[in-house]
């Protein structure tokens, strides 16, 4: 049933507008709100970046219209990535 064909062509342009807008927002956020504590700056920026990344994956890479099992496959390396970075950062301190 879910074969990636049976969907209307996704809202490519809307997504594009959102992506462009977020990019602008990121740059302004980074260059204007320099007063912000580094931590919150990072959190905000990463939030926006991840949002954009998810948009690209969901709509441009059609993940949204793929079978669930493919989602699982695609999500699999993310925990590993997090483990590596988090553990080693702890270690450095």
């Amino acid at each position: 049933m879910e074969t990636g064909e049976e969907h209307k062509s996704p809202p490519y342009m809307t997504v594009f507008v959102v992506l462009a807008a977020l990019t602008v927002a990121e740059v302004l956020f980074a260059l204007l709100f320099t007063g912000l504590p580094k931590f919150w700056m990072a959190v905000g920026l990463i939030f926006m970046a991840v949002w954009k990344a998810v948009l690209v994956a969901m709509y441009y890479m059609h993940l949204r219209f793929e079978p669930k099992r493919l989602w699982i496959l695609v999500a699999s390396p993310i925990p590993l990535a997090i483990i590596l970075v988090v553990v080693v950062i702890q270690e450095i301190f």
Binding site: T3, E5, E6, I83, V87, Q90, E91, I92
Partner: protein, 605 residues
């Protein structure tokens, strides 16, 4: 089904060759896309590297058995390796370091790994799941032809100025970041480049295996009907896929440190030496399981077949494989207990390491359970498989000593570790490889290997192997460090001289014994007794086709009705029940799949 045209399309793009008219020999034997031929190519190349690695080990052992004494016949080696003296050539420490490094590297990356993954992965996966070939035959070819230049570079590094890499197979930074420290310049860089290329080769292979297993299983081949060999190779492929890129990234950063003077891993340039170890072992521990999981799968296959009994606890075997696949990612720190890593992490890594001992134990107990009330045929594959089990028990148990952090403080970087890893990699993987080669030899070449000769080879190998590696435990417990050119420099190690000589002599015996296998191998290819389709009375799909299987493997699509280990089932009068036998009162495969549509032959790609 609307995928169908797309599938066709993809098949076209994938470009699998299945035209059944004659193929020019260069496409058949050299640039082959047939998974069976690629498997054989991997086998020959990596058996060659096995010999090379053994030779390196022999030289190393000579230096340890007879430190600073002239090595007979070593005069032919260049003076950069062997210092010429009036009474013969004496090994130089820099060459010893190269030997240590290259023995490890070649055995792990160019012998064991390609044998397990390259040979058995290519040979077994399509045959055991009932596929005509890999999903991407051309990529499969690329995987082999990337491995070859990598091997060439690795060997070439012996010939370059400064010799081959000398920082250990783990290539710890900062030692490996600069020739001023190792005395090795180009060799170290060739090592990095070679491993990066090999990484690509393994990646391409892994992509192929995973796609094939997920997408190309024959009708009725549900996940829990897949033979354990293929299961283990699938989990292995996932580990390769996710671990190798980490290594590649680290290798490239290290290469930059060496060549253009960046400082990722050099504290004097602001970097973090331990970062290399973290990246390396984050790859390295999955790598350890890459080297043992397929061996476990092969053993399960042979054990169940030669014991004529269903594998004990098939599901828990599969679950153990999968949990090893997960846990393997959170234990890397146990290689770094003494590295200066935060000691608090040491404890958590110790706990996770203790946890990962469990699935391995489960598998061992299940193998024993398989033998219980079995009908055991002690022929060569079985003997090797059994010695895998018993040696793996030793290797596993000795691992617990290192897992315990305080004990590891004393035995870390000693010969105890060397003994442990050889009990897993030689006693484990290599015996399983012998088992696998003898077991599937008839499928590869249509002939059986010689039984008596095989038994002689097994017995001698088993005895000599234990005489070589068991005493290394004791060396380690006496405090003898590994990777040490001349242990007699330490007064407290001098009493170990006789023990080292003993080991060395039997190491030579062990190496010599392997000639028997080589003879048996090549003799049997041409002279061995003809094997039918199914010499072992096995259930799995690869034994339903002729030996060697024709191009495209299956004349018509097999349909699978049952699990792979239905031996001595009451359902059949014989003591085996192939996966393709329909149930007596059977509608069809339980998953109720439609009958496959016939395949039009010779469609153009």
């Amino acid at each position: 089904m609307s995928t169908t045209e797309k599938d066709i399309a993809s098949a076209v793009d994938a470009g699998g060759q299945h035209d059944h008219h004659e193929i020019p020999w260069i496409r058949k034997y050299v640039f082959a896309t047939d998974h069976k031929m690629i498997a054989k190519q991997f086998m020959f190349v990596s058996l060659f590297f096995l010999v090379v690695g053994g030779a390196l080990a022999g030289m190393m052992r000579f230096q340890l058995g007879f430190p600073g004494q002239p090595m007979p016949g070593a005069g032919i080696l260049p003076d950069a390796m062997m210092a010429p003296t009036p009474d013969g050539a004496i090994m130089l420490p820099e060459f010893y370091n190269s030997l240590v490094t290259m023995h490890g590297t070649i055995m792990i990356f160019f012998a064991i790994m390609p044998l397990l993954v390259g040979l058995f992965g290519n040979l077994l996966i399509p045959l055991q799941i009932g596929a005509e070939d890999m999903a991407f035959p051309r990529l499969n070819m690329a995987s082999f032809w990337l491995a070859v230049p990598a091997g060439m570079l690795m060997l070439a590094s012996f010939a370059v100025e400064g010799g081959a890499a000398g920082a250990g197979w783990t290539s710890y930074a900062p030692l490996s970041t600069s020739g001023e420290w190792t005395g090795v310049y180009l060799g170290q860089q060739l090592w990095l480049v070679s491993l990066t290329i090999l990484g690509f080769s393994s990646l391409v292979g892994a992509v192929n295996y995973i796609t094939t297993v997920i997408n190309m299983r024959a009708p009725g081949m549900t996940w829990f009907r897949i033979p354990l060999a293929t299961w283990s190779l699938f989990v292995t492929a996932v580990l390769v896929l996710l671990a190798i890129p980490i290594l590649a990234g680290a290798l490239i950063m290290l290469l930059f440190d060496q060549t253009i003077g960046t400082g990722f891993f050099r504290s004097d340039v602001g970097g973090e030496p331990l970062l290399w170890q973290h990246l390396f072992w984050f790859f390295g521990h999955p790598e350890v399981y890459i080297l043992i999981l397929p061996a476990m799968g092969i053993t399960s296959e042979v054990l169940s077949n030669r014991a004529r009994k269903p594998i004990f606890g098939y599901h828990s075997m599969v679950l153990a494989l999968i949990s090893i696949g997960f846990l393997g990612w959170i234990v890397w720190g146990h290689h770094m207990f003494q590295s200066g890593m935060n000691p608090l992490l040491g404890t958590s890594f110790m706990i996770s390491t203790m946890a990962i001992a469990v699935p391995s134990a489960i598998k061992t107990f299940n193998w024993l359970g398989t033998l219980w009330k079995a009908d055991i045929h002690l022929d060569v594959p079985m003997l090797h498989a059994l010695s895998f089990v018993s040696m793996f028990i030793i290797g596993g148990l000795s691992g617990i000593f290192m897992a315990s952090t305080p004990v590891d403080i004393y035995i870390h970087d000693t010969y105890f570790i060397v003994a442990h890893l050889h009990y897993v990699l030689f006693g484990g993987s290599l015996f399983a490889i012998f088992a696998g080669i003898t077991y599937w030899f008839p499928k590869m070449f249509g002939r059986m290997m010689n039984e008596p000769l095989g038994k002689v080879h097994f017995v001698l190998t088993f005895i000599f192997y234990n005489l070589v590696f068991f005493p290394m435990h004791n060396l380690g417990l006496q405090g003898m460090m590994r990777r040490i050119y001349d242990f007699t420099q330490y007064d407290f190690l001098q009493p170990l001289q006789p023990m080292n000589q003993f080991i060395t002599l039997f190491a030579f015996a062990l190496i010599t014994t392997q000639v028997l296998f080589v003879i048996n191998f090549f003799w049997s290819i041409s002279k061995g007794e003809k094997a039918g389709n199914n010499p072992w009375h096995s259930n799995t799909l690869e034994w339903t086709v002729p030996s060697p299987p024709p191009h495209g493997n299956f004349a018509q699509m097999p349909t699978v009705f049952r699990g792979p280990y239905e031996y001595s089932s009451p359902e059949s009068d014989d003591d085996f029940l192939p996966q393709t036998t329909p149930p007596r009162d059977g509608p069809g495969p339980s998953s109720g799949v439609p009958e496959p549509t016939p395949t039009p032959e010779g469609a153009e790609a």
